[in-house]
C-alpha cells in the first residue's frame, strides 16, 4: 500500500528523517519496500500483513508511529453542521428509506444524505493527496470517498440520490442472471450468492465491491446518499473472485474493516465535504446493525512473567502499559500484578494474551531482544539416512549427476513403466499448473527420461543421471497415497555402448547398490533377476526385473526416446524397501590367505538358456571350496552351431585352511561339467 509521509503527518507529529521513518515502520511490522519522492512529499510502499486491515489507512499506520514514538495521535475532527429538513421540508427518513434483507452478509449499514450540493472542483490539497497514493481526481464527492478510504481504511460509496429509483436502498441477494454494469464499464451477470445494493427497480451496486454506472455521482449531482457499511468478509471475497472484479473497497472488506469505523468514516466525510463546498446535510443517520456484531470484546489478562518467558526479555510494566494504550487497547482497572485489557474494535485479530504479548514484542522491537543460547544436545545416528547417503555417493562416484524432477507427471509417456510399478489408477491432481502434469508419479523414470531427452537434444552427448525421490502408489483399501522412495538412473550416450554391454553397465549399478546394502543373508537366495515380458514400456527383450520373493523391487532396461539417436538405458529400484532388508553393520570376517585355483570353462548351449540357468546350476551343485563364479564372455557366430551360443565363465576355488590341489579341483570341475552336460545339454568347447 502507498503511504504518504505528509499524510501521516496529518495524524501524528513526526520529524524524523525519511529513512528512519521507513526503518521504524519496517521493524514494527510494516515492511517498507520502496520510497518515492513526490514533490515535497515522500511515498512509502508498505507491505501490510493480512491480519492487519487497520493498516490499510493512513491513520492506522500513523497510530503505529505514534505508539513507537510514545506520543498521541492528533485528534480527528468529525463535526459538521446539519439541517433537520431539506428545502422541501422533509427529514432524513422521509427522503430515503433503507431495508437490509440479508443481515448475514451485511452486518451494519449506515446512510446519511446531503442535498443542495454545490459542485466544485476538488481542492489542490485533496488532489495532491490522492495523486500521492496513485489515485486520480474524479469529482469532489467521489474524491472524498476515496480520501476517507485511504485515510481511515473504511470504504464509502456515494450514490446520486436523484438516480435512485424510489429513493430507496434495499440490501438484498441478487436475482439469478441479474445484470449489472460496474463503474469501470465491465458487465456482469450475477447469481443469488452475490449481495447487491439495489433501489426499487434494479441493482445499483455490488455490495462491498463496486458501485454501478447508473447511480454514480457526477459533476452535476445535487443530492447524495452516502453508504458506510460493514459487509462480511467471505461473501465479498467470493463474489470478487467469481466475477474477477476487485477494488480498494473489496480489498478492505475481504480483510474485515472496523465495525465502529463505519459511522466515524461517514461523519469524517461530511466534515470534509462541508469544509470544501456548500451543502445541507440532513441530521440523523439511517442505520441497521446485526445483533451482537458490535459487542465489545472480552477482557484479556496479560501476565508479565509470561511476557518475559515468550519474548525473552523483562520489560517494566508501565512501559508495557504505555505500548498497549498507544495501540488503542483499554486498560481495565486492576489491583493485581497482571494487567487486563480490552482490544479496540479495529483489532479483531487480538483475542488472547499471546496476541498482546506479540504487540508488546513488536513495539519493543524484536531486534532488541537479546540472544540466548540453547543447551547443547546430541543427535542419534540415522541409519536409514546413512544408507541413502552411501547409495548416493556410489552413484556420484560412478559418474552420475544427481537430478531433481517434479513429483507430477503426465498420463502420456512411459505409462507402462508406471503401471509396472503400481497397478491401479494414479492419484490425480485437481488443478495442475500445466495440463500435462495432472497425476502423481508412480515412477521417477518418465520425468528423468524427459531430462535425458532435453540434454541430448541440446547437445549433451554423454548423459548419466540419477535421482532418489518419492513416488506415489495406490494400494487397495488405503485412502491416501503410499509414498515410496525410489532410486532411478539413466545412461544415454551418443555412440556409446549398446546391446548386452550397455545392459551390463546399467545393471552393474543395481548390483553395486544391492551389494552395498548388504541385503539380509536369509533373503539373498530369493533375490532374482528375471526377464520382463513384452508389455512394459521398455524395448522388448531388453528388460529385467528384480524380485525378492514375489516383491517387485527393481527394473533395468532400454527405452526408445524420440529425437535421441542410439540406445537409452535406465534402471529403477524400490530403495525404501531394499533398505528395510539392508544391514548397515560392517563386521570383520576372516579371509583366506591361501592361493586360489582358477578354472576357465567354455561351454556351448542352446540360445534359450540364460545365464541364470547356468548360475543356478552352479549354485545347486554346491561345489566344494567354490569362492567365485564370474561371467566372462558370450559368443554367437562362426564355430558355434546355429541356435546355440558359446559362454565362457571362470570359477575360483580357495580353501580356508590349506592349498587346494589340482586333483581336488579337477574332480569338482569335472562333476560340474557332467551336471551341465546332463541338465543343460551343454557341450564343453575345446
Amino acid at each position: 500500500m502507498k503511504v504518504s509521509l505528509k499524510w501521516l503527518q496529518d495524524h501524528v507529529k513526526v520529524d524524523l528523517p525519511v529513512e528512519d521513518v521507513a526503518h521504524r515502520l519496517t521493524m514494527c511490522g510494516l515492511n517498507c519496500e520502496a520510497i518515492e519522492k513526490h514533490g515535497d512529499d515522500h511515498v512509502f510502499e508498505l507491505e501490510v500483513a493480512s491480519n492487519r486491515p487497520d493498516h490499510l489507512g493512513h491513520r492506522g499506520v500513523a497510530r503505529e508511529l505514534a505508539c513507537l514514538l510514545g506520543i498521541d495521535l492528533k485528534p480527528l475532527n468529525l463535526d459538521y453542521p446539519v439541517v433537520d429538513k431539506d428545502p422541501q421540508g422533509r427529514s432524513l427518513d422521509e427522503v430515503a428509506t433503507v431495508v437490509v434483507d440479508d443481515e448475514d452478509r451485511c452486518g451494519r449499514y449506515t446512510v446519511r444524505v446531503a442535498v443542495a450540493l454545490e459542485p466544485v472542483v476538488s481542492p489542490p490539497w485533496l488532489q495532491k493527496r490522492l495523486l500521492a497514493v496513485g489515485l486520480r481526481s474524479i469529482n469532489l464527492v467521489v474524491d472524498l470517498t476515496n480520501y476517507v478510504l485511504m485515510d481511515l481504511g473504511q470504504p464509502l460509496h456515494a450514490f446520486d440520490l436523484d438516480l435512485l429509483v424510489g429513493e430507496e436502498i434495499v440490501v438484498r441477494r441478487a436475482l439469478h442472471g441479474e445484470k449489472f454494469e460496474a463503474i469501470d464499464g465491465s458487465q456482469h451477470e450475477l447469481d443469488s450468492e452475490d449481495l447487491v445494493i439495489a433501489d426499487s427497480t434494479r441493482a445499483v451496486a455490488l455490495a462491498g465491491v463496486m458501485g454501478g454506472t447508473q447511480t454514480e455521482v457526477s459533476g452535476t449531482t445535487q443530492r447524495i446518499l452516502l453508504e458506510s457499511a460493514w459487509f462480511d468478509p467471505v461473501p465479498v471475497r467470493e463474489t470478487s473472485r467469481r466475477l474477477l472484479l476487485n477494488s480498494d473497497s473489496s480489498y478492505r472488506f475481504e480483510r474485515r474493516v472496523d465495525v465502529d469505523g463505519a459511522d466515524i468514516a461517514s461523519r469524517r466525510f461530511f466534515h470534509l465535504l462541508c469544509k470544501e463546498t456548500k451543502t445541507q446535510v440532513l441530521s440523523g443517520c439511517l442505520e441497521t446493525v446485526r445483533d451482537g456484531l458490535m459487542k465489545s470484546s472480552p477482557p484479556i489478562t496479560v501476565r508479565p512473567q509470561r511476557t518475559e518467558l515468550i519474548l525473552g526479555v523483562a520489560i517494566p510494566e508501565p512501559e508495557m502499559a504505555k505500548m498497549l494504550s498507544g495501540l488503542g487497547f483499554k486498560h481495565e482497572a486492576t489491583d493485581s500484578s497482571t494487567g487486563t485489557w480490552t482490544a479496540p474494535s479495529w483489532r479483531a485479530d487480538c483475542t488472547r494474551e499471546i496476541d498482546l504479548i506479540e504487540e508488546i514484542g513488536r513495539i519493543y522491537g524484536l531486534d532488541q531482544v537479546p540472544d540466548r543460547q540453547m543447551e547443547v544436545r546430541t543427535v542419534p545416528e540415522d541409519e536409514q539416512a546413512q544408507l541413502v547417503e552411501r547409495v548416493k555417493s556410489l552413484l556420484e562416484g560412478t559418474g552420475h549427476h544427481e537430478s531433481l524432477t517434479f513429483s507430477f507427471g503426465s498420463a502420456e509417456e512411459f505409462v507402462e513403466i508406471e503401471d509396472w510399478w503400481c497397478v491401479g489408477e494414479p492419484w490425480v491432481v485437481r488443478n495442475p499448473v500445466r495440463s500435462n502434469e495432472g497425476i502423481l508419479r508412480r515412477s521417477i523414470l518418465p520425468g528423468l527420461l524427459s531430462c535425458v531427452r532435453g540434454n541430448r537434444v541440446h547437445g549433451v552427448e554423454s548423459v548419466r543421471l540419477f535421482e532418489v525421490a518419492r513416488v506415489f502408489h495406490r494400494r487397495e483399501g488405503v485412502d491416501r497415497p503410499i509414498e515410496k522412495i525410489h532410486l532411478a538412473w539413466v545412461h544415454s550416450i551418443f555412440e556409446g555402448l549398446s546391446g548386452t554391454e550397455a545392459y551390463r553397465e546399467v545393471r552393474g549399478v543395481a548390483d553395486a547398490v544391492l551389494d552395498l546394502l548388504r541385503i539380509d543373508k536369509d533373503l539373498r537366495s530369493s533375490v532374482t533377476w528375471n526377464p520382463v515380458p513384452e508389455d512394459s514400456a521398455m524395448i522388448p527383450g531388453s528388460t529385467a526385473a528384480l524380485h525378492i520373493s514375489t516383491d517387485r523391487l527393481g527394473i533395468v532396461g532400454a527405452v526408445k526416446l524420440d529425437g535421441v539417436t542410439g540406445e537409452t538405458w535406465c534402471g529403477e529400484l524400490d530403495l525404501g524397501s531394499l533398505i528395510d532388508h539392508a544391514s548397515i553393520e560392517q563386521r570383520f570376517e576372516e579371509f583366506s590367505r591361501q592361493p586360489g585355483v582358477r578354472r576357465d570353462l567354455n561351454i556351448v548351449i542352446a540360445d534359450e538358456i540364460l545365464w541364470r540357468d547356468i548360475s543356478s546350476e552352479v549354485e545347486a551343485a554346491e561345489l566344494n571350496n567354490l569362492e567365485d563364479l564370474t561371467f566372462v564372455d558370450m559368443y554367437r557366430g562362426k564355430q558355434v552351431p546355429t541356435g546355440h551360443k558359446s559362454v565362457t565363465f571362470n570359477l575360483t576355488f580357495r580353501a580356508g585352511d590349506r592349498t587346494l590341489t589340482h586333483d581336488e579341483v579337477d574332480e569338482t570341475v569335472q562333476g560340474l561339467i557332467e551336471r551341465l552336460q546332463d541338465r543343460l545339454q551343454a557341450k564343453l568347447r575345446t
Binding site: 506479540e358 559418474g399 531433481l404 548423459v463 509414498e483 585355483v597
Partner: protein, 336 residues
Amino acid sequence: MNQGSSKDLDTLELEALRAIQSAVDASALEEVRVGVLGKKGSLKGVLRNLGSLPADQRPAFGARANVVKEKVEAALTEAKERLGVVSTASQSEKASVSGADVTLPGRRVPRGSRHPVQQVSARMIKIFGNLGFQVADGPEVEDEWHNFTGLNISVDHIARDPSENFYLQDDLLMRSQTSTVQVRVMEGTPPPLRIIAPGKVFRPDTVDATHSYMFHQLEGLVIEEGITFGHLKSTLLTFFQQLLQDDGMKLRLRPSFFPFTEPSAEVDLYWRGKWMEMGGCGMVDPNVLESVGVDPEKWTGFAFGLGIERVAMATFNIPDIRYFSENDVRFLQQFS
C-alpha cells in the same frame, strides 16, 4: 601314465617353483626358465603325453598346464625383480612403457555430482545437527488437519483456497509447507523436541525465474521448557553464520504474521550487498500446541521455515530457479 599326468604337472610345478626360489642370480633363473618352459623343457615333455589321454580329459588337462605355465612365468618375473635383474624380456616391456607420450592427459575418470539443492540441504542438516537438531520426516501428500487445522489456519483463511493449493480430493492435498511435519512430530513424540525437516513443498504458481510450483523448505521446531524468542534469534544467527562464513552478513527478524506462530517474524538476510527474504519464524502459537495435546503453560518453543532454493541460488550465484529442474549436465557438473 594316465593317472600320473596330473601328478606330473604337480611335480613339475613344485620343482620349478622351488628352483626359482633358490636361484641366486640371473643365469640361474634363465636356466630354470629354459629347463621348464623352453622348447625342450619339462612342460613340453608332459604336454606330449596329452595325446594318450582320453579325449574328454584333454581340455581340463590343457587348461591345467596353462595355469602352471602362467604360475612359473609369474614366479620368474617376481624373482627377477627380487634379484634386481633386467632381463631381455623386460627390456622390451620397458621399451613399450617408455615409448608412451607422457604429456597426454589422463583417461577421463567418471565424476558425477550432487544436485546443488541437495548439497545445500545437506549442509543445513549438518549445521543444525551440530546444534542438536534431529532430522524428522513427513509425507508429501497431506490431509487438511496437518496442513491447516492443526496449524491454526482457520476454515476461511485464504491459505486453504483451491487456487493456493494442489488438492487431490477434498481432504487430501500436496503439502504447501513443511510445517506439517511440526504437527506430526508433536503428535507422535512428547516434548522436549528439537527437529528439522527438509522436504518438498507444492504451491500453484506461475513458473518464472524465481518461482516454481515445487520447491524445498527446511522446517525447524524446538519445544522445551523456558524457550524464548531470544533462543530463536540466537539459533538462526548461529546457523547463518555457519552457513555463510561471512562476517559481513547481517540477520534481521522483522515482525510479520503466520497463523501458527505468535509472535511471528520474517527472516531477512543481508549478504553480498543485498537484503534477501529467507523464510519465516516465530514462537509456536499456543493454539497449535493445544491442538496436539502439548500444555502451553509448561512448554514453549519456536519454529522456522527456510527456503532452500533461495539459499542455493544466493550461494552459487544461480540466476534462474528453472535450472534446478532442467537438470542439464552442463549445469549439474559445475557442482561436482
